[in-house]
Symmetry: C2
Subunit: 345 residues, 2 copies
């Protein structure tokens, strides 16, 4: 179990956990950003905003990346930034099309490192089929940053028939995860702290176009919601969906795909993989009758080989996420309160 270092109190100053993707992030959004910025688009509470442009449904999303370290096994802050924004667009059922890139670079940052980052960004963009069409570079004085921060914003086109939204989730729906959990978070943690485990843990950063394309093409009316469980891990994403859809969710612990490396590292450090960040997997909520077909489609897609059915939606307006343990016990998976791992993305 995660120790909640921060009780449910009011703060005068920003805490690391305000950026952790859990309860405090939600509170900041609902108590400060929503009241001032209020509009119908913002209140969709989706990974991307769905907007109308000249009659067409467009997805628009933004993400800043402040990961530390900026280079890690399996990727760096650059491809992470491209893949993260592409996946947010995919989660709206959109075809990702155009990306912007905003660099905030610390004075003295090696240009060869910048080139390494830019090169992987270009490769990730090509792989995801998006164009980087506009950008901005700011340089801050030494000690006013941490090497480099990157913002990527993205635009995608949503098919007019696509209806992907947490509001569509219904009791009986099946929850699928498209790959092994916890890889990115444990990779960052072990790299940052120079922890050595038996096998190196590699970030799963990747864009998931193939999985989403195949699902939406072959099961256009059965996919309820897609969501990438990044900051706050599966626990935060599942709790958000339970609240939005006014249902509860039961997860079967034994079915969670976890690599031996992540499992061992989590046990050693006393971390719960349900709270660890991911960057290359998605949670898919699908109509019960089509769950087997969806699982087959995902497993036949690029980066979906390890997909598993991990739980189901239950008819309860308590909006709770339960986890059924391997010995039949059932515990509540709360949204993360504090900051388990700062700056994983």
């Amino acid at each position: 179990m995660i120790e909640c270092s921060i009780p449910n109190t009011t703060f005068d100053t920003i805490q690391l956990a305000h950026g952790g993707g859990g309860k405090l992030t939600q509170k900041l959004i609902s108590s400060l950003f929503y009241p001032y910025f209020r509009n119908e688009y913002l209140e969709q509470e989706h990974d991307s905003a769905q907007i109308l442009l000249e009659g067409n449904r467009i997805a628009f999303t933004t993400d800043s990346f402040v990961v530390d370290p900026i280079f890690f096994p399996g990727g760096n802050i650059g491809d992470l930034a491209i893949n993260g924004t592409v996946n947010d667009l995919l989660c709206s059922g959109a075809t990702p099309r155009y990306l912007s890139v905003g660099f905030i670079i610390e004075e003295g940052f090696p240009i060869k490192d910048l080139e390494r980052i830019v090169k992987t960004m270009a490769e990730a963009a090509q792989q995801a089929g998006v164009f980087i069409v506009t950008g901005d570079t700011k340089v801050i004085e030494k000690s006013k940053g941490n090497q480099i921060y990157i913002n990527t914003s993205g635009i995608g086109v949503i098919g007019n028939k696509t209806a992907i939204s947490p509001n569509n989730v219904r009791p009986g729906d099946v929850v699928i995860v498209t790959g092994k959990i916890g890889e990115h978070g444990m990779c960052i943690l072990s790299t940052r702290n120079s922890l050595e485990f038996e096998s190196e843990i590699v970030s799963d950063t990747a864009s998931l176009n193939d999985i989403v394309n195949n699902l939406l093409t072959q099961l256009p009316n059965s996919i309820r919601v897609l969501r990438d469980p990044t900051r706050g891990g599966l626990s935060s994403t599942l709790n958000e969906i339970a609240q939005s859809a006014n249902v509860s969710i039961e997860i079967d612990e034994a079915s969670l795909p976890i690599s031996d490396g992540v499992n061992a590292a989590c046990e050693l450090l006393g971390l719960d993989p349900m709270y660890v960040a991911n960057e290359g997997i998605m949670l898919v909520f699908v109509k019960q009758d089509d769950a087997a077909k969806a699982l087959e489609i995902i497993r036949n897609s690029e980066r979906g080989e390890q997909a598993q059915i991990i739980g189901k939606v239950i008819d309860s307006d308590k909006n709770i996420v339960y986890q059924k343990g391997v010995f039949g016990n059932r515990r509540i998976i709360e949204m993360i309160s504090g900051e388990q791992l700062p700056r994983i993305c």
Copy 2:
């Protein structure tokens, strides 16, 4: 004249001037970002990318704001971020519609300051007629930032007949500036250094919808290019346009609208107002025959009362910006090389 602290050499590390909007910024873009990210949209070299979405012409732009101090006379980093992105969209001849906001906040930042910023962002968005539709918040550890950085990306709709581009500039075209120059840069400089001049210098941050709407409605075929001379001031913007359009430009020093306060401060500090940043004015290139009409339209628009015709485009492929002095002398206005003023936006 500006002292160029950085000669035209190659650097191994990022310098402040790489973010200054002058020669080094251009070099970074042309030697690193363009080769890797290359595509037809990026190469438009405009303030916004013009993209096609389902057959409609859309403008897409991004800007990160790292201004120091974050609060200053006339505004703060929040309304600056909204107005800056709105103006970039306007400069493409687009009607600004949707904005994203990405916050990177330093741990310990007072929530009341964040609220003050968010409030002015909401007001600026309302004034400019745009919706903030999606956002992201990251928190970085203390000492890894400078209070708060904000990225705003924006989407606007370009009328199908609008053709605003530096490539359209022709010899004989007239250059108009819509308001007094140097206010924002000198405001930031004096606030940062606690300099006290006879009169307080106030930032001109504002969105310029009214000027652009009126120009494009009343003179749809005569406006060649619109550009907001932010980082690097008028000198950088004019040089960029001279290069893109393969022309030269002559500016008449006596006609430049400058407040007594900015003039005195520049003289005292040995700064050239042509190199000082602006946030609430635009450069308008217009067909010669319609210059008087354009000036009248701008002066009758909100925030355009101080507009002046300041120069003209001359037929010379040397791509030089000249300034005719008050005594008839003519000097070359080069693009800024070093960093005159770091972090003014």
